[in-house]
Symmetry: C2
Subunit: 406 residues, 2 copies
């Protein structure tokens, strides 16, 4: 289980072979911290994206959908900014996103429709194009930040740490790397909530199977985390495959998907662990469900329950709240079949076939205080399982969100 990355791991993080990057500060973040990130490949990449399902979609989301529809096989790079979401900005916002796209494309010698854009930050504010233009210009100059860690840091907002992950996959033609970075802290919800992720790989794969792999990977990673149940207007996961490395044969797609899912799950856990005000990761294992979908929905109700999350924050083995959340999940659980444990290895059992079991309260409490705290709920209905990740809910969450400036 990887929690937040250490400084050493961050320093060692590399994008997939063939990708370059740069970061800088252009003043979109009031703090003056880095807020621009550019990732690119000299070779045109296959690309795929999965976007927020919110009805309110930010301009960069709309533009990237368009761009992928027309150019998914020859994407050259991604330009991202933090500090302004370019959401709820109407036609001017769309024009601004196109301008951002052109600026990024110009910086790497690509045509505009070969570049994807990402924005995160405050909603309803227009992009400051003058700052953006100066900032993008500087990304290719001597003052630019050059490491993947800089890039990962530049897209963060209320994150306390950058999120990075890399995995290798063994294919017949040789090894390929999958390496990505992400941001997200508040507004994280299973259905792709406020988070941005960019994943690079040197694998050679066409846009259609790449998108299939990305969707499957997201279902087992980013769609299984929750911080506060909210879902943003800008959520986007992009994957770029440069093809500089070996090809993914059709029969190798599932191995590639597994490695991609593994990298995405690491990023997702880092996002959940770094939820606003969180003090620990919560890993929720739902087993014995009638289906994977049922396991996911039951887990989702539990992972989104403020009462469950505050109880875990207080190291309080209040299993009643977990059971009650499962009960209102909308799934047909049978309370008399439910069993519940705490701990990585089911150390303490709290419920057996729907009834409380005597347990050592101090031990149960100590297990909840671990990072990660592991909770397993078995529904006793079938073989469906799902693992979800959330975080505890602290008073600090409220402080951060009551004071975040609009």
């Amino acid at each position: 289980m990887s929690l937040l990355v250490t400084d050493d791991a961050l320093a060692a993080f590399a994008l997939a072979p063939g990708f370059s990057c740069a970061a800088g500060a252009c003043g979109l973040k009031k703090s003056g911290a880095p807020d621009l990130a550019l990732v690119w490949s000299e070779r045109p990449c296959a690309a795929a994206g999965v976007f927020t399902t919110n009805r309110v979609q930010a301009a960069p989301v709309v533009l990237d959908r368009e761009t992928l529809a027309s150019s998914a096989g020859r994407i050259r790079g991604v330009l991202a900014n933090a500090g302004c979401a370019n959401a709820v900005t109407g036609e001017r916002g769309m024009a601004d996103a196109r301008r951002m796209q052109a600026l990024g494309a110009g910086a790497i010698g690509a045509s505009p429709d070969e570049l994807l854009v990402l924005s995160t930050g405050v909603i309803g504010v227009f992009l400051d194009l003058a700052k953006l233009e100066r900032g993008v210009g500087a990304l290719r100059g001597p003052g630019a930040l050059r490491t993947p860690a800089d890039v990962a840091r530049a897209i963060t907002t209320t994150d306390t740490r950058p999120k990075v992950a890399a995995r290798a996959a063994r294919l017949e033609g040789g090894g390929v790397t999958i390496a990505g970075f992400a941001k997200g802290a508040g507004m994280i919800h299973p259905n792709m909530a406020t988070m941005l992720a960019v994943v690079t790989t040197d694998a050679r794969i066409a846009p259609v199977p790449l998108e299939r792999a990305l969707r499957a990977a997201i279902e087992r990673s980013f769609n299984r985390i929750s911080v506060d149940g909210d879902m943003s207007t800008n959520d986007t996961v992009l994957v770029l495959a440069s093809g500089a490395g070996p090809a993914v044969a059709p029969r190798e797609e599932s191995a590639f998907t597994d490695a991609l899912a593994d990298a995405c799950a690491s990023l997702a856990r880092q996002i959940a662990r770094d939820g606003e005000g969180a003090t620990r990761l919560v890993e929720l294992r739902v087993t014995g469900a009638a289906s994977e979908r049922q396991a996911h929905r039951v887990g989702d109700a539990i992972a989104c329950s403020p009462l469950v999350k505050t109880a875990i924050h207080g190291n309080d083995p209040n299993w009643g709240r977990i059971l009650a959340a499962a009960g209102y999940s909308g799934e047909a659980i049978e309370p008399a079949k439910v069993r519940l444990w705490f701990g990585e290895r089911d150390e303490v059992q709290l419920l057996d076939r729907g009834l409380p079991t005597p347990f050592d309260a101090a031990h149960a409490s100590a297990l909840l205080a671990l990072d990660p705290a592991v909770v397993r709920l078995d529904l006793g209905l079938g073989d469906g399982t799902a693992t979800l990740w959330t975080c505890d809910f602290s008073a600090e969450y409220v402080r951060i969100n009551a004071e975040y400036t609009t």
Copy 2:
């Protein structure tokens, strides 16, 4: 708008004519505060109940459903306890609930199936029948508390104030009273979450139209409040009609329903206002929806959003969070048609047809600081409207729920 009741209003509160009550402390609450409440009528009453939709249902909920199915036309009273929810207690819990029913019935000279029971408090703990038996015995003795305010107070848990409401309805046969009390603080969610309410009336009405009126009233009151999105195992609203007053003619049912809904809405607002850690009521008016159902669902997403509720707590006019919540409600809103205002009389407009409007931030912030804070979202799609109530989300909520003992 009635917020929390004053001491004067509480002292003046009376049940409907013909109802008696008693309260006492039997030790189920560790604090020693009153935790038993009995309400009864000498005449058999028509009765109706609406219960939690949670798959995990507490023993008293199961028992009351049974009792109403067999005896809805001759209910004599309700015995309620706080301090123990008698939920997730299996067959022993059902036996305990039946014993509680028999004790209450004995205290008022009724048969067991003429008495309804309510329990609230910690889940997974068995009722202490010895304490209950002594406590119920004392309810008819000289030491019992006698006022409706005492009864309203006895069923509270983390509530800071009892909740009471009374309304009059004018019928052809004369006036009738509708008077009820409720409890609820955490775990309040639109679909009948942890709350108990008992409403008395002297109207003469049969069980079937009484249940119809109750369901319609709840749809416009208790189902429109949210504190934390959680839903409990014990939620119950009961109404008892003694028939001591005038009859409700078929053509007067809607007038009776309106008065019942009005009383229930007052109780619901008091519950939302008294949400754990809340510092103000939030009234959310969704207008211009394609249907009332759509308005309700959009409002529900907003009312449950921790990000919206923390922003209001911080007096932060962060309209982006409101719009984003509407966007993930699952309803087909059209962002380009949405308008948003703050204030009882739409004093400050923040969005016009999907775009931010310039507004006086200090004025907007001041409107959010009011109790109630009023937010209106117009979807621009039709004539559907719904008013919902929630509360702001403070760090105190987390403190209360991290420390509530299991």
